[in-house]
């Protein structure tokens, strides 16, 4: 456990010293500029526009960190051979991989928290309200990023960094059109296409489940049961993908 946390801390430190938090500064600037612009273009609904834009920005920047950093930092350890000195010590391979995962998730979480706080403050400045629903929507984005980072970890173990990044991006994009894929299966009547499309739907996560932007921006009620199911779904998916990554990494020759 201690070794795993040490690896997680080291990963977070690496990300921070790689100036990942500059992305947060980029987000803050984007929020300021876009709020000014959209504040001029919309009348009466500035608050909603800022919330909508803010949550989209939080999601986009978090996805950037999750996808780019995850594959890069894990591959860097293996290709850079720093992992050799670690795994020759009494550290299990799954401990190494989970340590990296936790460090990456901590990096995403730190950045996301800072972005969420900027967003809440901006909304307060423009609409005069403290909207804590934004923090809930951000937490759900973090859960989504936990799933995405788990996939990035799996692909970092399975393939080269560039391919890993492409595959993770593909999962992210397909994950957001999963419901459309399901609708597609309903329209295909014959042949092998239907089971293939259905298999893709069942294998990949439905990331739209974590999207509560509309509910939060328009202040719609969310059934607690739906929140619970979403949390269980996100955690279960994350655990499943991480188990696959650990099993593969445990058998891998580090040449």
């Amino acid at each position: 456990m201690r070794a795993m946390l040490a690896i997680a801390r080291n990963t977070l430190r690496e990300a921070l010293r790689d100036r990942v938090l500059y992305l947060f500064l980029g987000f803050a600037v984007l929020m300021l500029v876009s709020s000014k612009i959209f504040g001029l273009l919309t009348v009466g609904d500035e608050g909603k526009v800022i919330k909508d834009l803010g949550l989209a920005g939080v999601q986009f920047f978090s996805m950037l960190i999750a996808v780019m950093m995850s594959v890069l930092l894990i591959s860097r350890e293996v290709d850079g051979r720093t992992v050799y000195n670690i795994l020759a010590k009494p550290v299990r391979r799954w401990q190494f991989l989970l340590g990296k995962y936790l460090g990456l998730l901590a990096t995403v979480a730190l950045n996301l928290t800072l972005m969420a706080l900027v967003m809440v403050v901006m909304v307060r400045l423009y609409s005069g309200e403290w909207d804590m629903g934004l923090l809930f929507a951000s937490a759900m984005i973090l859960l989504e990023m936990a799933v995405v980072t788990a996939f990035a970890t799996l692909f970092a173990v399975l393939t080269r960094p560039m391919l890993g990044t492409v595959f993770t991006l593909a999962v992210y994009i397909i994950g957001h059109v999963a419901e459309d894929i399901w609708l597609l299966t309903q329209h295909i009547t014959a042949g092998v296409t239907r089971p293939i499309v259905a298999a893709i739907y069942y294998m990949l996560p439905n990331l739209e489940r974590f999207n509560f932007k509309t509910e939060v921006v328009h202040e719609l009620s969310i059934p607690p049961g739906e929140i619970a199911v979403t949390i269980v779904y996100g955690l279960a998916y994350t655990v499943l993908v991480l188990v696959l990554a650990c099993v593969r990494f445990s058998h891998k020759d580090l040449t």
């Binding site: 080291n10 430190r13 010293r17 790689d18 720093t82 020759a88 010590k89 020759d253 040449t255």
Partner: protein, 307 residues
């Protein structure tokens, strides 16, 4: 307790590079033992299987067959891993860490107690003469300094068995001397040192025993002096006075002094030369074998393996 620090038995490993490429059989039943408290050199040409063997011992690759024991324990056992210190070839580091942060990180991986870890880190830094540069970022370190830091992390757990893959590669003579001194000091402390190297004079100087690996198998193993002792390639015969002017035995080299002289002939002509000198009434005072150096010995084995 067994006196064996490291036992490698019938190790086999074949790499599969992927579709449409031939499999590469790197280790073909490699076996050897390293006794406690010795410096053991692992020698071989490029592609002989040295690094693959070392990676298998360190648990970085999985052998297809065979067994590896560290101090009587299976090498994958956590207790076995606590007994080793490992330094990889051409080590890479985290450029964003200082030397001390790097060792603190490795102290945590080893699970060293929080109250003793700082002392151990300081001791390791001192052993590799890096105490005064420990708080600099590692991206500013030279290759020699990185090599020392790599050694420091390997020494941090006070291992029983130190495994070093090419520890002197890429170092200048001063750096090589420092690494050599550290290895010798570790043996004095009772640590077993197992290391691979291409730099034969270093191996010849500091190793108690060596194994020569060619094409995935161990070709020879033993003490350096025993290995080269089998390779007597010539004899020198010393005698009083000058050599007879018309020696019929083919001579490799000779030297004439005011009191004594010597003549060198290959092993096959030793008896012929002695007979000829005795027949000429020369008083022989010495006969000594001329042995090959370890380098010459290795060349013979390496070429033999390649052919």
């Amino acid at each position: 307790m067994s006196n064996v620090a490291l036992r490698v038995e019938d190790l086999k490993k074949t790499f599969d590079p992927g579709l449409l490429k031939a499999k590469v059989e790197v280790l073909k039943g490699l076996s050897f033992e390293v006794q406690h408290g010795v410096i053991f050199g692992f020698l071989g040409p490029n592609g002989a299987g040295k690094t693959t063997t070392i990676k298998a011992i360190a648990g970085l690759i999985w052998p297809d067959d065979g067994a590896i024991e560290i101090c009587g324990l299976p090498h994958t056992d956590e207790a076995a891993k606590r007994k080793i210190g490992f330094m990889a070839e051409n080590p890479y580091f985290y450029p964003y860490l200082t030397g001390r942060e790097f060792l603190d990180f490795h102290a945590e991986l080893l699970g060293l107690a929080r109250d003793t870890a700082p002392t151990r880190v300081s001791q390791a830094l001192e052993k590799v003469s890096m105490s005064d540069r420990a708080d600099r970022l590692m991206r500013t370190f030279s290759k020699g300094m990185l090599q020392r830091m790599s050694l420091a992390q390997a020494l941090l757990g006070e291992p029983e068995l130190l495994i070093l893959d090419e520890p002197m590669s890429g170092l200048d003579p001063l750096g090589r001397r420092d690494v050599r001194d550290i290895i010798l000091a570790e043996r004095e402390r009772g640590t077993t040192v197992f290391f691979s190297s291409h730099i034969i004079p270093d191996v010849e100087t500091i190793c108690d025993r060596v194994a020569i690996v060619v094409d995935g198998t161990v070709q020879a193993v033993g003490e350096v002096r025993d290995l080269v002792a089998h390779e007597v390639e010539a004899y020198e015969v010393a005698f009083v006075g000058a050599a007879p002017p018309a020696l019929t035995t083919p001579v490799l080299a000779s030297q004439t002094g005011s009191d004594a002289s010597w003549v060198r002939v290959d092993s096959g002509h030793r008896d012929q030369l002695i007979r000829e000198l005795v027949d000429d009434g020369v008083r022989i005072v010495g006969l000594s074998p001329v042995r090959s150096s370890l380098e010459e010995f290795l060349l013979v084995h390496f070429q033999g393996g390649e052919s």
